[in-house]
């Protein structure tokens, strides 16, 4: 594996809708600052934002980790939360356990995880019911997923 050029970690607070999306903005600035292709930045930003929203909606809190190597952008989002009992079901578009108030805010339409997978070249998700969920995404810098 190529060595890490850069690593950043951000904390996300559960239920903090006001600040939700801050780490995706910071990550966008970093990737822009080092001249990553805008199309790849866009994909990374969507991944981080969706994962961040999942943490804000369902979990107590979590962390976003950005790792940049010469080959890829790696994003890991790990939360302390209820976990997902049936991952296969959760990965289906439109499947959501969000409460009505979330939907009224424009979230929880069951597009988050599928959206993350769609924008990733590599995607893994693991969950421990009662403890939390970890999503790992990778975007290849050469654009050949």
């Amino acid at each position: 594996m190529a060595d890490e050029l850069l690593r950043r970690e951000y904390h996300i607070q559960g239920r903090d809708f006001e600040r939700a999306g801050e780490s995706s903005t910071l990550i966008k600035e970093i990737l822009k600052g080092v001249g990553i292709d805008p199309t790849l930045i866009r994909r990374a930003v969507v991944i981080v934002f969706e994962a961040e929203m999942n943490v804000v909606m369902y979990a107590e809190g979590g962390t976003v980790t950005l790792v940049l190597t010469e080959e890829e952008i790696r994003i890991e989002v790990a939360d302390r939360g209820p976990g997902i009992p049936d991952i296969e079901q959760a990965m289906q578009e439109g499947y959501s356990t969000a409460a009505d108030d979330m939907r009224e805010m424009g979230f929880g339409f069951g597009m988050g995880l599928p959206n993350i997978r769609r924008n990733s070249d590599l995607f893994t998700i693991s969950s421990d019911v009662g403890r939390g969920t970890t999503v790992q995404s990778s975007i290849r810098l050469d654009g050949h997923g």
Binding site: L5, K28, G33, V45, G106
Partner: protein, 434 residues
Amino acid sequence: MAEYTHGFRIETESCNGCLACMRACPTHALRIRNGVVKLLPELCIDCGSCLRVCPTGGIVPLTRSLAEFSGFKFRVAVVSPVLYGQFPVGVSPAHIVAGLKALGLDAVWDYAVEIEVVRRAIAEQVQKWEGRYLMVSVSCPVIVRLIQVAYPRMVDCLIGIQPPREVAGRALKRRYSRELGIREDEIAAIYITSCQAKTISILQPAEGGRSHLDGALGVSDIYNGTLAAAREWELTGREPAAEDLVRNASMLRWSTPDGPGGTFPGRRHLYVTGITNVIRVFDDIEKGKLRNLEFLECYACWGGCIGGNLAVDNYYVTRNKMQHLMNGLPELDPVTQAEADRRYREEDLTLEGPVLPRVIEPSGRDLRERVRVMTMAEQIRARLPGLDCGLCGAPSCTTLAGDVAAGEAAQTDCVFLGKERLGDLRELYLGNRS
């Protein structure tokens, strides 16, 4: 790197190094070096924020004077609808048109038709949308440039239809060339504008190619002369026999917060004005927070074109006057409708080329080197006080740190870190007063 032209000129000899422009610039394109402003042209999006705040008038819009068009055989004004809301109550649109002609313009163009034609073209594109992607109006040249510089992925969202002023420039040259038997390049198409940014879209269109307009005159450039001539008409108590160019409310609404998106019923439309507000909305769009939007109209000036930096009357009064004018008019008049029907069928309104992102190369030849420069900038930033006082000549501590890491500035430019810095500034700004 490509050369960038801008819609203003900095007269460094009148710059007093006061920091106002640097602090106002939303893209951090200005620095103060040795008490004089310096522009980083690739970052400038021509928003004109600096012009508004410069106390010495040292940043001059490149709008022109009418005399500069004297080389043309025939001079035609295309008038931003904002102009009709700029004059005192009692000065009618017909008086204003007569006033413009008295200044020496040979004709004032019937702009209502282009506005209607372009409104239809945009409406048709938005109707065809079917939920695939967001569409953003290209009316404001600053927004187009903001997207090129800071939101390069969004260039695909820009609606590929020429703004009405360009369609008008093309049409008026064709018509007068035919009617007067002179060449198109002997006819000047002059846009009367409420902001300096229209100048840049004439000098260097974002989509490449050439503008159909020959230059712009600011509302403030022609105001006094037009008012004096219009007043003479007003005193006669008669209406001049000029063509009736303000016939419908739709044209006037184009420049207000209600149009043109407001006329597309049932569409998810957002009207955003003020560059910092636009930046917030674009950020939300980029991260996917704002979805299902269909049509976005954004203007760099707060309040839209009515709030342009070359407008004379204040925003609220102008809006009120334009509303009064609209109240007495039909939404669309039969003359405009018939002419727009014909031209909509006949004319190609597509933008003459795609708008491409403006590539700004970060310092460092490869990714490893660029990460090193950025990490260094972060370390330098951590040593700075975070006051964003601007005395170093950069708008914020973060910008200074970036400049230092890129080798464009010295850490000792900060008054807290450079022992000599305050003394040098005292010398520079107070001179023999100290």
